[in-house]
């Protein structure tokens, strides 16, 4: 896969002298640059333009984040959540997945990096919830791919001193890319878990535009393991389609062939789910995609999910394959209900805190 190089860069005037801005400009010497007074006004004016003209994932915005960088993962009380925390160094992603919720979630069509990196580090230093020594799993992959812009930002290296200084904190770098070499050199001390989002070969090829190949991701994970990292894998979203069983089983076989079970911190499973407007938006962006033609029904949180029988069918198979091929690996659900847990794993964490504890144990073991 090719590394993202913006074709055009907007810079909010007040961040033009910040270190990250200067670094990005040095690394993108050919991109035209436009200084703007206000990122907010720029985004508002782009929203008035036609989608076809602002879409394309080629334009980068460097601006100030005026809100929080760190927050709790926006889960829901109706489905079991794992107590994850989200760190947001930017928003938007150069990869172009047909199922990506950001298509409907973000109102900003630009790939955005927050240049006030020092404010982010200061916020982490000051955050009371990160001071008590307890285990906290934090991820940067909620609103962007954790590594897709790292060749411009060096965020992974920049954040390491803080995470190494706080035992109990773990940063999960969640990605569909394969540029792991800079991470291999880091003295991470177990503070980082690198995770790959995995899917069937068909889904990777047809729905995850611009992302690395499945084999490439597994190869990158293998390198990370060799460098002493623990790794995670996320089968989310699972997509029910032709030959889905063969497809997902093949992925687990590939994992089992290359990654030792003890190096796997966790594996999450979740099926495709989306707020209703995403279907129309994604339909315009990806008119040929068939992933939204499954039997989706409104879940208890208003999101569309596969009919529960279909989810149970997929989950039961996945649980069985992991048991057979990668025994001992901890597999959990993202945003599922008691019926799915009980049917697939034979138990249901009684509270969100109980699920969090199960995942935290994966870090301390």
């Amino acid at each position: 896969m090719t590394l993202f190089q913006p074709e055009y860069i907007y810079i909010e005037k007040e961040v033009k002298e910040l270190a990250l801005t200067r670094q990005v400009l040095e690394r993108c010497p050919d991109a035209p640059v436009e200084l703007v007074d206000s990122a907010k006004h720029l985004i508002a004016s782009l929203q008035r333009q036609r989608d076809s003209e602002v879409r394309g994932k080629k334009r980068l915005l460097l601006c100030r984040n005026r809100g929080r960088f760190l927050d709790a993962c926006p889960g829901t009380q109706l489905y079991r959540c794992c107590g994850y925390m989200v760190l947001t160094p930017g928003a938007g992603c150069p990869l172009d997945c047909s199922y990506c919720v950001l298509q409907a979630y973000l109102n900003n069509p630009l790939i955005t990096l927050y240049a006030n990196t020092q404010d982010m580090l200061d916020e982490l230093e000051a955050a009371p919830e990160l001071r008590d020594g307890s285990i906290k799993r934090i991820g940067t992959g909620e609103f962007m791919d954790s590594m897709a812009l790292d060749h411009l930002t060096d965020f992974a290296a920049a954040l390491l001193p803080f995470f190494r200084s706080r035992p109990g904190l773990v940063l999960e770098l969640k990605t569909k890319t394969v540029r792991v070499e800079p991470l291999l050199k880091l003295d991470h001390g177990g503070a980082y878990i690198i995770s790959w989002s995995l899917n069937t070969e068909a889904v990777v090829n047809n729905e995850e535009h611009g992302a690395a190949s499945l084999a490439g991701r597994i190869a990158a994970a293998k390198k990370a393991v060799a460098a002493g990292y623990r790794v995670g894998f996320h089968f989310d979203p699972m997509i029910y389609g032709e030959e889905w069983e063969k497809g997902y089983r093949s992925v687990i076989e590939l994992m089992a062939e290359h990654i030792p079970a003890e190096a796997i911190a966790w594996v999450s499973i979740g099926s495709l789910r989306f707020m209703p407007p995403l279907k129309g938006i994604a339909g315009r962006h990806f008119p040929a995609t068939r992933i939204y033609t499954g039997e989706f029904v409104a879940g208890q949180d208003g999101k569309m999910r596969y009919l529960q029988d279909i989810r149970l069918e997929m989950y039961a198979k996945m649980a069985g394959w992991f048991k057979d091929l990668l025994p001992g690996v901890f597999v959990y659900f993202c945003m599922e209900n008691s019926r799915s847990w009980n049917a697939s794993f034979g138990y249901f964490p009684p509270t969100d805190a109980a699920l969090k504890q199960l995942l935290d144990q994966r870090i301390s073991t």
Binding site: R48, R290, V297
Partner: protein, 324 residues
């Protein structure tokens, strides 16, 4: 931009009735207007633009009035004539302002206006200035919707202007191939569907065509739909429901099968005494509900017995078989 203040008399033969460059009106008849003119006379003379160097005129405002006057047998009509030298863009703006000053344009008129404005005005100005004047939100989405509607076939525009199909449906139809669009439009013309049901059928048909690798035309030409449409009864509204139901079964085969099984089970389970078993919405989760209707304490007691019998019925356990 000013008008000559005097009203002059122009022969109808000098007016280009086929020239619709500035005509905003769509889907309106001149019958009522003709009756009004017959009764009260022409209150506001139409506005014309003279073609350079000719004794010929283009209609700027008052297309319907001129049609009505013609229908009433006038050969010469009173009109105001624009000063010479105006550009087409200025004339179009004047025609639009005249229309929006006294009425709400319908969706087809709005769409036609936007399409023509884009010939002269930058897109951002159309969005920010003209769309609100036309009663639309100043957004790229509204502009795109207008362009889609403007590109529709005349018969679909007529149906939209007449309210037979909704604006949302028209926009959704516009993105389909002509064959698929007309197949859906023919269906909407033959059965009665509300705007939301039209939208549902468009979405369902699109999903089915995409899922099955076919096209909407083929989905709608199924034997089942043909049989429903050809049957002498029921009335078009009921036929619409039958078609919706058929399409839903195709689109959600497992869900509808589950609904049918539950419905069959609910019928044979104990259900006397006003007790009704309700499944979780879309069978999501495993929480079923019981509804008990009673009007007197004795009927509540009957219901309690029914509930007890229900709880002990082995067939009820089949509902939970896959989850426990």
């Amino acid at each position: 931009m000013t008008l000559h203040s005097d009203t002059v008399t122009i022969p109808l033969t000098a007016i280009g009735l086929e020239d619709t460059a500035f005509v905003i009106t769509f889907g309106r008849s001149c019958e009522d207007l003709a009756r009004a003119i017959e009764r009260a006379g022409l209150i506001n003379p139409p506005v014309l633009a003279r073609l350079p160097g000719q004794e010929a005129y283009r209609i700027v405002c008052g297309f319907l009035r001129i049609q009505a006057l013609r229908q009433l047998g006038f050969t010469d009509i009173p009109a105001r004539v624009l000063q010479p030298g105006l550009r087409d863009a200025q004339i179009l703006e004047l025609a639009l302002c005249d229309n929006i000053s006294h009425r709400q344009l319908n969706s087809v008129e709005q769409a036609g206006a936007v399409k023509r404005l884009l010939n002269y005005v930058p897109e951002t100005k159309v969005i920010e200035y003209w769309l609100p004047l036309l009663g639309l939100s100043p957004s790229a989405k509204a502009l795109e919707s207008c362009l889609r509607i403007a590109g529709l076939e005349q018969e679909i525009k007529q149906a939209l202007a007449a309210g037979a199909i909704s604006g949302h449906s028209a926009v959704e139809l516009a993105v389909l191939s002509a064959e698929d669009r007309l197949a859906l439009f023919r269906l909407f013309s033959s059965v009665h569907l509300s705007a939301s049901k039209q939208a549902e059928i468009i979405e369902t048909c699109r999903d089915l065509a995409l899922r099955d690798g076919t096209d909407i035309q083929k989905v709608l030409s199924s034997e089942e739909i043909a049989a429903i449409l050809a049957a002498p009864t029921p009335n078009p509204s009921h036929k619409a429901e039958q078609i919706r139901s058929f399409l839903r079964r195709c689109r959600f085969p497992r869900l509808t099968r589950k609904e049918e099984l539950f419905s069959a089970l609910a019928k044979i389970l104990p259900h006397a005494g006003g007790v009704r078993l309700l499944p979780p919405q879309s069978f999501e989760g495993d929480t079923y509900r019981l509804e008990i209707a009673f009007s007197r304490p004795e009927t509540l007691a009957d219901a309690a017995q029914t509930v007890q019998a229900l709880a002990q019925d082995a067939r009820l356990r089949s509902l939970f078989g896959d989850g426990r």
